[in-house]
């Protein structure tokens, strides 16, 4: 009796469902999408991605997911309290001039300011190939017109994170500096490397004996 009633209910509600072939097609699309979402999350993590999953995703799923902006890892750690999680700012100045430059995000607020901070962080931390230089050059190209000059200094500052255990606040730290100039239509980026990161000078001379005091010299 119960089975018969259930069967009637099944039949009635099956009439309200999309047709079987439509359901089959949609099911295939759904399975494709669900696997794609899982692969997108698995291959867009801070921990890296396995070559196998990366290859499967790029060969099969990326042509659909990437254009739709669904190849996203959603790995919003928000913060780990690390230096790179601090807010970043861009400072554009005419090279060699003391006048006021262009500070970004400057007075902007909300999501608008957040977008500039993300851009600044990209220059500092890098993106593809861990190199933010192409982005810095692009920002400077936009700055040429804004500041009316063909030779700019691009600097990115990492704002201090307040220490929790001590009252001391760190200083603003410069995490990127480069000079970008336009010469004959070509944009040149000259990276300003911190002195500490330069390789030591190599000396071919062998170790020498201690210098002889002047009074002992003949």
């Amino acid at each position: 009796m119960l089975a018969a009633g259930q069967s009637v209910a099944n039949d009635r509600h099956r009439d309200l469902l999309p047709a079987e072939p439509v359901r089959a097609l949609v099911t295939i699309a759904l399975v494709f999408l669900l696997i794609g979402i899982v692969l997108a999350i698995a291959t867009n993590t801070l921990s890296g991605a396995s070559p196998l999953l990366g290859r499967v995703k790029s060969r099969v799923f990326s042509p659909v997911l990437v254009p739709a902006w669904l190849d996203v890892g959603y790995d919003y750690r928000i913060t780990y309290g690390l230096e790179e999680d601090a807010d970043h700012e861009i400072d554009l100045r005419v090279h060699g001039a003391d006048g006021p430059g262009l500070l970004l995000p400057g007075p902007r607020a909300g999501e608008r300011a957040s977008r500039w901070r993300r851009l600044a962080r990209t220059i500092a931390v890098g993106g593809i190939d861990d190199d933010g230089a192409p982005v810095a050059a692009g920002v400077a190209r936009g700055g040429f017109i804004k500041l009316g000059a063909d030779d700019l200094d691009v600097r990115v500052f990492r704002l201090p994170q307040p220490e929790r255990s001590a009252a001391a606040r760190g200083d603003t730290e410069q995490v990127h500096a480069s000079r970008v100039r336009q010469v004959g239509g070509d944009v040149q980026l000259i990276r300003d490397e911190p002195p500490g990161e330069l390789a030591p000078l190599a000396t071919a001379a062998p170790p020498t004996a201690p210098p002889v005091p002047a009074e002992e010299r003949p």
Binding site: H13, L16, L30, V72, R164
Partner: protein, 293 residues
Amino acid sequence: MTTTDSAVPSSTLGDTWTRFWFAAVPVRPLAVVRILTGLLGLLLAWSYAEDLLLWFGPDGMLPRDAASAWRPRWGVTLYDLATTPTAVRGLFGATVVAFACLLVGLASRCAAVAAAVLWASLLHRGPMLVGPADDCLAALLWCLVVGPCGADLSVDQLLRGRKGRPRAATSPWAALALGLVKVFATAITVAALLAQLKGDSWWNGEAAWWLASRAGSLDLRVAYDRSEYLMNLVTHAIVAFETLFAAGLWFAATRRTIARLALLGWPLLGMLAGEPLWGLAMGVFAVPFADVV
């Protein structure tokens, strides 16, 4: 009635699948998602509007070649075709119009398709500017594309009523759309949770402090200075909330309670994290399961 409240009895895995994705459900929750998504889209578009040409103009700070170097293979954008300020403004204006149409429910299905394509295009034009709320909005828009998002609370419905066409209160395609909303809500939350739990600060209870030190966040550092336990509590509460949300949406007994909690929890978390629009976007994912409409 929620997305999974259906009279189709389930006895096998196939029946459960069919019931979840295809059994007709009320269209109103999807209409509310459409309205809120349109509103969110306008808010996020507003954050692009003022600096649009400074970023994407012909002499903007994000030249096309620099942006395309950032894009993955298959990443395409209509903005590559926009070589003049007018064209850039035109494309962006079309995006805003699509969001406005979603908000009022005018040509809703077409507006959803247009908004999804144009929004993805905008994000591909400047991937280094994209934040969590932008990702969530893209997912929400594709969910609207597959469902009858203009079947209720819309200009479309008014126009249909004037022509004497009957109003469809339920639809199997609404189940499909709301099922996707639930899948994306869970996937985004689980991915965020996994990313957070890789960091020490989410285990030792200090994450709340670092959140409070971010620009634009709710600054509770004075309170945290007074009580370390409060800071720990907020940190652990965020993790617990995300865990409950991801799991609780899938059980009939907890779905409504968790979703209602999420209507407050996600916006609050967004404010704590300095990402208020992300909090709102995640709140939109919870709306259809809270049974408030």
